[in-house]
Amino acid sequence: MEGYIEIRWHGRAQQGVVTAAKLLGETGLFEGKYVQAFPEFGPERMGAPVKAYNRLSDEQIKMHCQVTAPSVVLIVDPTLIGMDLAGGMETSGGVTEGALEDGIFIVNTPHAPSEMRKKLELLPTQKVFTVDAAHISIDTIGRLLPNTPMLGALTKVTGIIEFDSLISNFKDNYSKKFSEKILNGNVDAMKRGFEEVKGE
């Protein structure tokens, strides 16, 4: 299907992965797309591996199930690379499991994309991008919350949503929830993620 994209997020509890998927879904809806956003996790505990998924489409989305063949994988916590995330309720496999042959990986790391390509053992047809989301979030928000810089990076790399929609939706929906400082910090984090994401 044209204009149909499936995304998988990998992170750990408390890193904002579920919120990131929610924000992406809201932005898609803001643009008039059909969307889904949903998490998958085991018994709640801080630091446990968490997956979240998005579907965005120009047509109605029928399926309700995990994304098993993502076209985009976001690795919010690079320590999950190389781990078998099976066990509990998850299906077997690591962060690269099932990714499409022309899939895109975006990794939160200060290292170069070429290093990540090696570490992830990617196919030559797959693309990899990196962004130092951890440091961006500490600079802009004052704490380790790599989710919003990752959203900025995703917007730049894939173009599936407009950067302006990302910001507008966030400001519209969260100005009541967050203080102005936190709100602006997150907007800066998205901007820097957008600007600083690197490809090979």
């Binding site: 998927a21 929610k22 879904g25 809201e26 809806l29 059909y34 969307v35 889904q36 956003a37 949903f38 998490p39 998958e40 085991g42 018994p43 709640e44 989305i61 029928k62 399926m63 309700h64 199930c65 995990q66 098993t68 099976a86 309720m89 299906t91 077997s92």
Partner: protein, 420 residues
Amino acid sequence: MKRRLLTGNGAAAWGARLANVDYVPAFPITPQTEIIETLGSWIDSKEMAGRMVTLESEHSMVTAAGAAAATGVRVFTATSSQGLLYAMEMLYTVAGWRAPFVMVNVSRGLSAPITLEPDHNDILAARDSGFLQIHAATCQEVLDSVLMAYRLSEDARVRLPVIVNLDGFYLSFTREPVEVPKEDKVLSFLPPFDPENIRFRASTPISQAVAVLGGGPYSYFRYETHLAALNALSVFDEISVEFGRFFGRSFDAVEAYRTEDAEFVFVMMGSFATKAKEATDRLREAGWLVGLVRPKLFRPFPKEHFLKLLKGKKGIAVIDQNISMGKGGVLYTELASVLYGSLDDGPVMASFIGGLGGRDISSEEFFEIAKVIRRAAEEGKAPPPRLLYTEEELREMRKLQVIANAERNQAGKRVGKKDE
């Protein structure tokens, strides 16, 4: 109408809010808790009227719900899995009271082994209780079902509690665009509960409890409950027409997808049926004449709808997301009892069990199921039931067992050394 991004739990809470419920007895359990948290926050911020009380167990919660409904107020509650089972004694009791209210169940597989992810053994354990059952497959349907459920439950010809079921994770935590109808429109579709003769005033205490009865009067009340549940079939169809008129969305007792010219039909319940819908499209692209039939109403069982939709089909594959130990799939068994003797030259039926504890059912498996049912139709013989499991899953399982055994032996050695 503005669409909001809501989880299935959020949609359930919106249903209760729009229904203007008076009373919400509550007890938390994953993956349902978000429903009562949401209602709690609305009641706290005065965005919603009504009173919420947290009870010490689901058993007390359902007792409170039934007792409140028996005084003529509108009641909402929610639970899941082990919680539903813990309340089971009172499920039968409040249905026997003919107390009309709505309970949401967020399906989650039962212990043991324990899981958080969904299958339908929890909700199907309540099959014979007297609660009616509506099964949702999308977040929109969750909200719509709650509104439908109040109309059905409170109808004077029915007067039974209704469970609205949604699958844990796949709906409960999945955010989708949902149309939240306007309050005034909902008020016209679902006016305040008119309890007629059901009322309780503290100044004029009455007893509604029934004394111990012998078989004759006991049977009378049990039959009455059954007949009221059967009344709900035509009442549901009436309400469903009205629902369409009010909200511009249909809400039929049974959904039929691409069945008109289909030779083979999948039958499934709940959100996992959306995978069958997608697989139907893929199979159609590959030249197969397949379709999907999905009951939204499970109690009462919409027999006539099924007969109409399945007449003239060559084969039916029932995929049950539940397992009755020592028998097999519950929906398969129920459907077989409906079709047997009702259709001349009836279709061949095949039973599949899948999706237990949230196990995925892949597109390839639907292709395999289609092949099995086609072969069965050609041979005119029902195949043995199948438990869906892949070679890869079995290999992973064996690996886990080897690790577990090695760890156990290792632990045994350590204990042995200590003893020496």
